[in-house]
């Protein structure tokens, strides 16, 4: 009965979102305040209905209702409760429901925190989000209903893919979806601006915090996924340029461009049409990513053939959303107005270059991800484009972006002077060049790539130091006062940029200095790597809630002193009969020691992989710094919810365009 109630609740939600997607938008066009006023209560009702449906599905999972097809396919009675609940988004249907739930949460949030936005704008924004919701709910109800019954009911479920039975599964997908779906807010703001023909500094100030919040979630989500892959797959890698990863990375690249472009739109009134286009692209890529990952296209384009209705619906939905919004953009972009003028050498130019580079990088990832799918779909042969392509493209595209990142914040708006910039940055340049040469020589391995990576990382450190010194050095206030004299969003920018530097440093060091060995080890055997002795103590058999486990023990010593004990595991999930590797990792700020079990060989021996990963944790710490920078920017005073006098808004937007 409960699944039917959930199903019914989804149908009601569809009706509500249909009204939300039509009346407020028409009302805004006709100036009908009653119709516009519908948006807010409808957003709440929609949220309640979808949340209720979601809870019904959670209930079906928690109480093991195997008469529901989706539950039977993705769960099992032996699965621990936390994974039974995470299994709600372990498959296609449930993850779409999670998507719809998160969309309704964002819609509700916009309706609650938009008192300062004009009524017609708010009505349009919520209306557009309602339309997106219509698409997803229709899709679920027509071709991928999570509440579909299985008659007769299964005795037990087929279990969640063991790869997903990990704490990462509980946090990573919801975080990622919060990011993906969060870009729907920026998208809705942009469509609303196109419909209303109104886009000023105030608009940028309203949409900025939403965009930054979505970007934070996406950053943390990607970081969590990368970390999960690192310890779960047992290959010691943290990024594989896998199509699933690329699907989340493309919206991030465009979203990063978007938050920078929004900054220019708010501060200077420039880049308006470009900002709108980026918002449309960021959301389009989020949609594409969702469907790429969840439709089965990636495992085989012919997955569409098994359920052609699904494939056709997805293609139609993408065409309507992406094509429709781009058409609207082409038609209405001229109404949003032109931006202020700026010189060839100015902060605007640097930000423009950053935007172009990020957009081109996103395009290159798109090409590498979709082209093999296209060829395959047209039966023109099978190819794969692996990490070498992405590595070859990414380094040259990101290097200038990171270099400019050091200059941009120091350059003046509108017009900057190259000689002055050169004067201010000469020390930073000298220090970073020197570090890039000396540090690798001290560490005993100099290659151009290591030198270049270190240069970029220290370039950002040094230019940030110069920037902070200039801002804080000129005052005689006490230090705390000087820190507070700068806005939180400025500090957010500095910290996020430092996060990039920390990330680049981690990547460079781990790529340049990591080492690994694969060996056959009998109990008592010792392997040597990076100055450490890894002694294999043998394997003990035990069992977890729904798996058998062989837990190895490797004690690590350096010069006879015990440093750490690694406990890599080989699990066999009994329901699906799938083996799974669980790496044993000793994380450390300087380096990770990492071991994973291969397979049992004759006579109690195992094949074992051992990795030494210097500074690999910095990669994820850098991502967290970026996210923290985003939070600081959100906490900025000017985003505090206050109803501003309309005359002041108009004035500030006028100033911005001068």
């Amino acid at each position: 009965m409960i699944p039917e109630i959930g199903h019914f609740s989804l149908i009601l939600a569809l009706l509500v979102s249909l009204v939300l997607g039509s009346f407020p938008i028409i009302g805004a066009a006709r100036g009908n305040t009653v119709w516009m006023g519908l948006a807010k209560p409808l957003a709440s009702v929609q949220f309640i209905l979808i949340a209720f449906a979601f809870l019904c599905l959670v209930y079906a999972f928690a109480y093991m209702d195997y008469s529901v097809l989706y539950v039977a396919n993705n769960s099992n009675s032996k699965l621990p409760l936390q994974f039974r609940i995470a299994a709600v988004w372990g498959g296609h249907e449930g993850s779409l429901l999670l998507w719809a739930l998160i969309l309704s949460i964002w819609t509700l949030a916009v309706s609650l925190f938009s008192k300062h936005i004009p009524d017609d704008m708010r009505a349009r924004i919520l209306g557009v989000m309602g339309l997106v919701s219509v698409g997803f709910l229709l899709f679920m109800l027509m071709v991928s209903n999570p509440f579909e019954r299985l008659i007769p009911a299964a005795l037990d479920g087929r279990d969640l893919n063991p790869l997903l039975q990990d704490p990462g599964m509980i946090f990573h997908p919801p975080m990622l979806y919060m990011g993906y779906v969060g870009f729907s807010v920026a998208f809705a703001f942009s469509i609303a601006a196109l419909l209303g023909g109104q886009l000023d500094a105030a608009w940028a100030r309203w949409s900025r915090p939403w965009t930054i919040l979505a970007w934070i979630f996406l950053t943390v989500g990607i970081m969590a996924g990368s970390n999960w892959a690192y310890y779960e797959l047992g290959w010691g890698g943290w990024w594989f340029w896998d199509a699933v990863e690329n699907a989340s990375f493309m919206p991030w690249l465009v979203g990063t461009a978007l938050i920078h472009s929004l900054a220019v739109t708010e501060k200077r009134g420039s880049f308006k049409a470009w900002t709108v286009l980026l918002a449309i692209c960021a959301f389009s890529l989020s949609l594409l990513g969702t469907f790429l990952v969840r439709s089965g296209v990636l495992t085989s384009v012919h997955a569409f053939a098994t359920d052609p209705r699904r494939g056709i619906f997805i293609l139609a939905f993408l065409v309507v959303v992406i094509g429709g919004s781009l058409l609207l953009f082409a038609w209405r972009a001229s109404t949003v107005g032109r931006g202020g003028k700026f010189d060839v050498v100015s902060r605007e130019s640097f930000l423009l270059a950053n935007n172009v580079l990020l957009a081109v990088a996103a395009l290159s990832v798109l090409l590498g991800t979709l082209y093999p799918l296209f060829l395959d779909a047209l039966n023109l042969g099978k190819i794969s484009v692996g990490p070498p392509y992405f590595d070859a493209v990414f380094a040259p595209l990101m290097a200038p972006a990171i270099f400019l990142m050091g200059i941009g914040p120091i350059a003046r708006w509108k017009e900057a002077a190259l000689p002055e910039l050169a004067m201010r940055l000469r020390w930073a340049f000298g220090i970073s060049i020197a570090t890039a040469v000396i540090l690798p020589l001290m560490l005993g391995n100099f290659t151009p790539m290591i030198g270049f990576g270190l240069f970029l990382a220290f370039w950002v450190f040094a230019t940030s130091a110069e920037l902070v010194y200039q801002r804080l050095g000129k005052s005689d206030l006490p230090l705390m006062g000087r820190i507070k004299a700068n806005s939180r969003s400025w500090w957010g920018m500095v910290i996020a940029h430092l996060g990039i530097a920390v990330f680049v440093l981690g990547v460079t060091i781990v790529k340049g200095f990591e080492s690994e060995i694969a060996v056959k080890m009998l109990p008592g055997d010792v392997a040597h790597l990076a100055g450490y002795d890894f002694t294999f103590d043998g394997v003990m058999d035990t069992h977890g809630p729904n798996y058998e486990v062989s837990r190895g023990q490797i004690h690590v010593t350096k010069n006879g002193v015990l440093r750490t004990i690694l406990e890599p595991e080989k699990r066999l999930y009994t329901v699906t009969n799938m083996p799974m590797t669980e790496a044993g990792i000793s994380p450390h700020i300087i380096h990770d020691l990492y071991a994973s079990l291969g397979e049992p060989l004759e006579g109690g021996a195992w094949s074992v992989r051992i990795y030494h990963k210097p500074m690999v944790e910095w990669i994820w710490f850098g991502c967290l710094m970026m996210a923290f920078g985003g939070f600081l920017a959100l906490a900025d005073k000017r985003y505090r919810l206050k109803k501003r006098a309309p005359s002041k808004e108009a004035k500030s937007s006028k100033e911005a365009t001068i």
Binding site: D343, V385, A392, V519, A605
Partner: protein, 153 residues
Amino acid sequence: MALKARHKRFILIGIGLALIGLAAMLILNAFQSNMVFFYTPTQVAKGEVPKNTGFRIGGLVEMGSIKRGEDGLTVNFVITDTAKTVPVVYKGILPDLFKEGKGVVAQGQVGEDGLFVASEVLAKHDENYMPPEAAAALKSAQEQSNTLVMPTK
């Protein structure tokens, strides 16, 4: 600077176009040199594969074909698409789901002696899942000789 606004705009657009052109060249070049083509064991047997460049092959690991070397790390096995077979050697640790009778994809080069030296072996995701390339190899072999029975995956 004493440049007119129009000139400045031209310079900006020029720099932009040059940058994008450069990036496009870089991307297409990298793309072309890093594409890895996929072949079936039947195509390998017919000699349709390139010499001296890497490619991918896919199919099933033939039953009873896995042989481990003395060091415990070198593995010899045979990939089959049910019509033709390719002997493969790989040194390293195999993925969890590498098993006889299951789908597999290997990337590497074929030597003079016809032995495929794999640099990477993929067999992932789950027990019922067949790597798409492996499934395609089986399907095309089946289409070419309808007398063979497709093994259930």
